[in-house]
């Protein structure tokens, strides 16, 4: 990314508060979300006016994004602002803890922002209302047009402080935007913020595109395009829009993903009716064959340490999930349950593999340990597939299609997310129908 987004972090309070009482457990479904008050950020009167942004409303808008992020986790219950008991600027200096406790809040977020010399400065504090203590205080300086990202970064910092795990709000989702009748579907690559804002279309829809996936630095995307009616794996630079075909294969290449170091693309190559798994080094252009089997081998996904690959194969007769070393040796089948299994994706934490399971005409999204034990099915539907992990390995995004009537009436494809606890299933709103979502890593690490 040429346009480097500079964010300056300043810790106002360098000593973390170790004896805070509130802590949110995200390892199980949370039926009792933490009541949190997000005070609108105070806008300093001295702030410069901005061309495209209403500076007076910016404080409210930032807090609204934070609230929406929190609500979407199912772990927090942002309280209604009408009940708030203190003015934003005063609360930010020193909350009256007992008054905030009266409205049943357990945590409070306060902040202020200002614009000077075309720089946006945002400061926030998180308060533990039970212990009457400040938990974090941070300030950021950036260009004003980055204000949404600041709201997401603040959300991540608070999530991290309260759950003990990294957040996933300052992220993007790349997906396939769909329109038109089912038998002539127009598909475009689209990218948006994790909360559905700032949608941008990356292709025009002249050719069929499928299965986009980010590289680890989120600047490149690999995907399948039917450009000139030759289905091949492509590489796209999001910033420059430059596209190139990956390798020079005499047949269809598909199901691409990056290696965890971003140096290789792993994909399937189909020839004479047989699909095997190959890698191509993006720098040296060296192509390596990973599997050699007369069955279909596809949907490869690396473990985060790059040592293993999980993939989908029908070598046993029907689709099952296998794990092998990254050089293709030591192939082991890991799924033995009833039904068929596809789309394995290794969790960024390394512990789990997410998958799609089909059984008795129903589709499930599930997770299992990387040795195939501990299978848990999270959600069941008429059709859903293609899970992709949030960068902290706690949430999956996938797509779901509805049953259609004559001429495809009633057909839709939408993005959904679910926690790996099996709770908190949610629609992710998109401008158009959508499929094949892929979640980026954290944009600011």
């Amino acid at each position: 990314m040429k346009k480097v987004i500079l964010l300056f972090f300043v810790y106002l309070n360098l000593i973390p508060n170790l004896n805070a009482l509130i802590k949110v457990d995200i390892t199980r479904g949370n039926l009792d979300p933490l009541p949190i008050a997000v005070s609108p950020l105070h806008v300093e009167n001295s702030s410069e006016k901005l061309e495209n942004i209403d500076i007076k409303k910016l404080g409210i808008n930032v807090s609204a994004i934070i609230e929406k992020n929190f609500r979407s986790t199912g772990l927090f219950n942002p309280l209604k602002k009408e009940a708030f008991v203190q003015k934003p600027d005063i609360a930010h200096l020193k909350p009256r803890f007992e008054d905030w406790r009266l409205i049943k809040a357990q945590a409070l977020v306060t902040g202020k922002l200002s614009v000077k010399n075309n720089k946006l400065k945002v400061e926030f504090r998180l308060w533990d209302l039970t212990a009457s203590k400040e938990m974090i205080a941070l300030s950021f300086t950036t260009t004003p047009s980055n204000w949404r990202r600041v709201a997401h970064i603040i959300s991540d910092k608070i999530y991290e402080r309260l759950t003990g795990e990294a957040g996933y709000f300052d992220t993007r989702i790349i997906y396939v935007a769909e329109s038109g009748p089912k038998n002539q579907r127009v598909k475009k690559l689209a990218i948006m913020d994790q909360d559905g804002a700032k949608t941008k279309y990356l292709t025009l829809g002249n050719e069929l595109v499928l299965t986009p996936r980010f590289n680890p630095s989120n600047q490149m995307v690999t995907y399948l395009s039917y450009f000139r009616n030759l289905p091949r794996v492509y590489l796209l630079d999001i910033e420059t829009g430059k596209q190139e075909v990956v390798g020079n294969f005499p047949g269809m290449t598909f199901a691409p993903r990056f290696s965890p170091d971003g140096k290789k693309i792993i994909m399937s190559f189909a020839k004479d009716g047989n699909s095997d798994i190959f890698t191509m080094d993006l720098e040296t252009r060296v192509v390596e064959r990973i599997t050699e089997h007369s069955s279909i081998d596809t949907s490869p996904s690396y473990s985060p340490d790059g040592k293993y690959i999980c993939f989908n194969s029908d070598r046993s007769g029907l689709q099952q999930i296998y794990v092998m070393k990254s050089d293709g040796t030591n192939v082991k089948r890991i799924t033995f349950g009833k039904g068929i299994y596809g789309t394995p994706v290794w969790s960024p934490r390394g512990d789990l593999i997410a998958f799609t399971k089909v059984r008795k005409g129903r589709f499930y999204i599930g997770v299992m340990r990387s040795d195939g034990t501990g299978e848990r099915l999270l959600t069941e539907n008429f059709y859903q597939e293609a899970p992709s992990w949030s960068p902290n390995g706690r949430v999956l995004v996938f797509y779901r299609e509805t049953k259609s009537g004559p001429q495809g009436k009633g057909f839709s494809a939408k993005l959904w997310s679910i926690d790996i606890t099996g709770y908190n299933e949610r629609r992710i709103k998109t401008e158009t129908d959508a499929s094949d979502p892929s979640w980026s890593s954290l944009l600011s690490k």
Partner: protein, 157 residues
């Protein structure tokens, strides 16, 4: 009363028979196993030469009816030596996208291989898989899915 009851029974039996026969003829004329055997979506390369063959779920093996269709295609291609074709392989919507792409490719190649055994040069035949992306019948029913599991031979212009 008795007459009425008899009459009602007769109607019931008649109705049941009609319903059953309607049901069985519908099934008989549409699919065998779950391979589509009807002709609703079929187009023709030339008179009597069907352009497509159908497959069972998750399978790429050719039925005897498919082989008969392909023998006719081979005859047609032998007569029209300058004609090249593309075989499109398709899957139904009931499988994961990436696997379906591979399956469509496998189905298209099953057709290509069979045409080649009848002396058609592989150079005249290209294959492309659309996976589940281009259904011919957009409905979500077993009949539609059977029509969508297909390989279509398309003339290259």
């Amino acid at each position: 009363m008795k007459f009425n009851k008899n009459l009602r029974n007769i109607f019931l039996i008649l109705f049941a028979t009609l319903a059953l026969s309607a049901c069985s003829t519908a099934k008989k004329s549409q699919t065998t196993g779950d391979v589509y055997t009807g002709s609703d979506t079929v187009e023709y390369l030339a008179s009597g030469v069907k352009d497509r063959v159908f497959f069972a779920t998750n399978k790429s093996s050719l039925t005897s009816a498919s082989r008969e269709t392909l023998r006719k295609q081979a005859t047609y291609l032998r007569k029209n030596k300058k004609l090249n074709v593309t075989i499109e392989g398709h899957a139904d919507e009931r499988g994961t996208r990436e696997y379906n792409l591979a399956l469509g490719e496998r189905r298209a190649n099953a057709v290509k291989d069979y045409l080649m055994t009848y002396g058609i040069s592989g150079k005249r035949i290209s294959v492309i898989s659309y996976g589940k992306e281009r259904p011919v019948n957009s409905e979500s029913t077993p009949l539609a899915w059977s029509q969508n599991r297909r390989s279509v031979t398309v003339k290259v212009k």
